[in-house]
């Protein structure tokens, strides 16, 4: 089977979109972001948390400039995704202080030489904990099992964003109340 460099091509387009001012700082989150720290797990899309510039004329956030930019470059809109270079990408404006901080403090890395930013392991865990679906909890457990977290940093984030009691509930339910 021929190997396609879809993610690399997708990131090149997103980086160009950032350079052209359509989006501000961005960070990869979700399953693809978690892959920086964990073993790879099958996923069908890429979550990009991107700061979207607003103007004084139109202070409301709109994804339309992103969609228009990408459509002009061959992107295809499919429900909440834009298919770029074969990968469905979901653009998510940071919707709360935790997500804003996660984007601001994202870790710089590269994919086949293309620079990109990924949320820190601790921010990914905090966001997964807040989102709270079964698959999010599974991911949190993977971070714990693979010892991929800086506990001090994680607890500071959880405290800052009011997630300490949720973390305690998670521990009680899934870790037998241990103080991991």
């Amino acid at each position: 089977m021929v190997h396609n460099h879809w993610v690399k091509e997708t990131l090149e387009i997103i980086n160009q979109m950032q350079a052209d001012g359509v989006i501000g700082k961005y960070a990869i989150g979700g399953a693809v972001g978690a892959t920086l720290y964990l073993e790879p797990a099958s996923t069908l899309d890429v979550d990009i948390f991107a700061v979207i510039p607003t103007s004084s004329d139109s202070p409301l956030l709109s994804l339309t400039p992103i969609y228009e930019y990408l459509k002009a470059r061959g992107g295809v809109i499919e429900y909440e995704h834009v298919k770029i270079a074969g990968w469905p990408v979901q653009f998510l404006p940071p919707s709360n202080e935790l997500e804003q901080e996660a984007v601001a403090e994202a870790v710089e890395t590269t994919v086949e030489g293309v620079p990109t930013w990924v949320m820190s392991a601790e921010h990914l865990v905090a966001i997964a904990l807040r989102t709270g679906r079964s698959k999010d909890y599974i991911r949190v457990l993977q971070f714990i099992e693979q010892d991929a977290l800086d506990q001090e940093k994680l607890h500071a984030i959880l405290e800052r964003h009011g997630l300490t009691s949720k973390w305690q509930q998670f521990q009680d339910k899934y870790l037998g109340g241990t103080n991991e």
């Binding site: 460099h5 797990a41 996923t43 590269t110 994919v111």
Partner: protein, 55 residues
């Protein structure tokens, strides 16, 4: 190699290497979906379960 050791090795790969694996996993998922194998196997499992519950 133990499963734990294999997982540790996979987690230790570079992001680029892991992204290549993600792409292959996605290719495989799409190929399975296109071939209909997944729905056939789900249908087969359902029939088997039905048979088991009736038997």
């Amino acid at each position: 190699m133990s499963k734990t050791e294999m997982r540790r090795q996979l987690a230790g790969l570079s992001f680029s290497e892991k992204v290549k694996i993600l792409e292959k996993l996605r290719d495989r998922s799409l190929a399975l979906a296109a071939s209909g194998l997944r729905s056939q196997s789900a249908e087969g499992a359902r029939k088997k379960a039905d048979k088991g519950s009736k038997g």
